[in-house]
């Protein structure tokens, strides 16, 4: 599902439908939030009542969605310029900026309070900080200021498994920090691969992405270097309480594939990329989605195997 999806009926009537408000929540990003938070919750060594677990994941998803709505409110001006985002509800004229702000802030406050009541104050505090980080630190401050925007801002997307873990345990631990680190280190190469083939969007919008400020060659080098930093984190999880032989086998395979992809991107130049329509860059971007999904599925699998004596080390 696209985060820019719109009801065709809304365009005809000029009236925002329920689906348009849902699109404000960036459902595609929200699905990643739900999945990683769920893995964090289920991988934790403390059992949670199913209803409390379900409600907590729902409030984490709503909080993540609210930050998406607030991001769309703040970025409405550049969303109008970029091809990828110009069909979102605000630039399309379906929902006003004020409405999006009110919608986002209401859901954010509600999600944090409800998570505190359903789970615990630590999880709620982490959710509140995530929303603050994504909206204020990333969207308002870093995004239009520094090419390191996605490196630091990537932390916002890395918090959900920590929140899930905190729902179960009421705290933070080495394992939850490693799950955070996995998403944090994965975000830059994932996003820069996208930037390489979304050529003009960021430049036209004046967003200082690495491709715009340092050039495309430097971006290719950065993808390879950040992948080299990512690999020890991803493999290292295999030797902790949430890892194990199954996780390790999957992680080794996925990291070998991802390293090969990053290497292929590094070796190419713009002429080669233009010639085949950025095939390698697009392939690595798709692979990066499977990479993250695969690692968290492996963590989940490992925790599900534990009751049968096939868990961690």
């Amino acid at each position: 599902m696209s985060d820019a999806s719109l009801n065709t009926a809304s365009i005809e009537t000029g009236e925002a439908g329920f689906g348009d408000y849902f699109a404000l929540l960036k459902p595609r990003v929200m699905s990643l939030v739900v999945f990683t938070a769920l893995v964090g919750l289920l991988a934790a060594p403390v059992a949670v009542h199913p209803i409390i677990g379900f409600a907590s994941i729902l409030f984490i998803a709503i909080g993540g969605g609210a930050s998406g709505a607030l991001n769309m409110w703040w970025d409405a001006d550049i969303d109008r310029i970029m091809k990828r985002t110009r069909n979102r509800p605000i630039p399309a004229g379906i929902i006003s900026e004020g409405e999006a702000f009110a919608f986002g802030i209401t859901l954010a406050v509600m999600a944090v309070i409800m998570l505190a009541l359903a789970a615990n104050p630590v999880a709620a505090g982490l959710l509140a900080f995530t929303i603050f980080f994504y909206v204020v630190i990333y969207s308002m401050w870093l995004k239009r200021w520094t090419p390191q925007n996605i490196v630091i801002g990537g932390a916002a997307g890395a918090f959900p498994p920590m929140i899930g873990w905190a729902v179960a345990t009421g705290g933070v631990s080495m394992e939850s920090l490693l799950m955070f680190a996995l998403i944090f280190m994965w975000t830059p190469p994932h996003f820069w691969a996208l930037c390489l083939f979304m050529k003009s969007d960021y430049k036209e919008a004046g967003v200082p992405m690495l491709t715009v400020t340092h050039g495309r060659r430097a971006t290719r080098v950065h993808i390879l270097v950040y992948t080299l930093f990512l690999i020890p984190v991803a493999i290292g999880i295999g030797f902790t309480g949430i890892g194990g032989p199954v996780y390790l086998a999957i992680a080794v395979l996925l990291n070998a594939l991802f390293l090969k992809g990053a290497w292929d991107i590094w070796r190419r130049d713009e002429i080669q990329a233009e010639t085949d329509g950025y095939r390698t860059e697009k392939r690595v971007f798709t692979l990066s989605l499977f990479y993250l999904f695969g690692h968290f599925t492996a963590i989940l699998l490992q925790s599900m195997l534990a009751p049968y004596g096939l868990g961690g080390w």
Partner: protein, 54 residues
Amino acid sequence: MSFPEQHELHKRRFGRNLGLGLALVALGVLIFGLTMAKQVARTSDETQTVQDQN
């Protein structure tokens, strides 16, 4: 007696209002479920504490 014709605004916003109504009902059901789950958890904790003391 006949019902007055529905206002055009209500027709236009039917989907939105229905979605909001269903979301509110779902939230109510969820809060009820949460209350029950927390109550059960508290009761079992108290029972455990009494058993431990005995």
